[in-house]
Amino acid sequence: MKARVHVMLKDGVLDPQGEAVRHALGALGFSGVEGVRQGKVIELDLADGTSEAEIGEMCEKLLANTVIESYRIELL
């Protein structure tokens, strides 16, 4: 089985890289880009039967830093 973990900076945390991308899009002439948030996608190749709770534990312990990041698990 496979799972995909999406990790994003939490809403209150300013994202300097996202801001830089927003400016660059503006410089390319794309108007109306009001915000950009940049995150990570981590794909996991897992033994069959791995529970979502176990993936959640992986996120809490390593894949995300929950002080600044939120995560979402997608089972594929």
């Binding site: 300013l14 300097p16 002080v67 600044i68």
Partner: protein, 222 residues
């Protein structure tokens, strides 16, 4: 005073930290990240700067989950002293021993220069060699030194006098200009600036040396 300097793949300030600690009078051993125990009688664990594990995933995240960091956490929980510099500070926030997190500099650039800091408190073994309020010049060298903590967390640090150093001219976007923070028991310090790079006149400054000499004096008295 017995110090253990941790070494991870990608550490690059480990020997500098050992030199500064030895110059201040500590006996120092280098401890590889795969070790599961610290040397007997370790008083201080020093977590050096560098790019542990290539900064993969997040700066300090992989190192924080290495075998030696389990021993580091036990040492800290027993009331042992811990100093984390630069990548070492990132490791300490990732272990949860210090609050907050360090993200990409607000200006997105890697910054390597000497900056003025203000010593915010003299009430810790690490800062006892300074007078509170003095300004010191210490090099920074980081890409991810932007300290993030929510407003309540910052207020809690301030109320408990746990901000050790602030930037005089904030170079990286850190909340409340914070450059270094102490744990609740004041025995764990994490800081982005490099005091070990300002602890020998040949390196162009001595403003970092009182951190090491003060620490060793404080531990000798303890």
């Amino acid at each position: 005073m017995k110090a253990a300097v941790l070494v991870f793949p990608g550490s690059n300030c480990d020997r500098d930290l050992a030199v500064a600690l030895r110059a201040a009078g500590a006996s120092v051993s280098m401890v590889w990240h795969k070790e599961t125990a610290l040397p007997e009688g370790t008083d201080l664990v020093a977590v050096p700067g560098g790019f542990s594990f290539g900064d993969y995933l997040r700066c300090g995240a992989i190192a924080a989950n290495s075998p030696v960091c389990a021993a580091l956490k036990t040492h800290a929980e027993r009331g042992g002293f811990v100093l984390g510099v630069c990548n070492g500070f990132q490791v300490l926030t990732e272990t949860g021993l210090l609050p907050g997190a360090l993200i990409r500099n607000s200006g997105l650039r890697y910054i390597c220069r000497t900056v003025p800091l203000q010593v915010e408190t003299a009430a810790s073994a690490f800062t006892s060699g300074y007078d509170a309020g003095v300004r010191i010049d210490v090099p920074i060298a980081h890409h991810d030194g932007n300290y993030v903590l929510d407003a309540d967390g910052v207020a809690r640090l301030r109320d408990a006098d746990r901000v050790a150093f602030t930037y005089v001219d904030n170079p990286n976007g850190s909340v409340a200009d914070i450059a270094g923070v102490l744990s609740g028991n004041r025995r764990v310090l994490g800081m982005m600036p490099h005091p070990e790079r300002a602890a020998d006149p040949a390196l162009g400054g001595m403003d970092g040396a009182p951190l090491f000499t003060g620490l060793i004096d404080a531990l000798a008295d303890a």
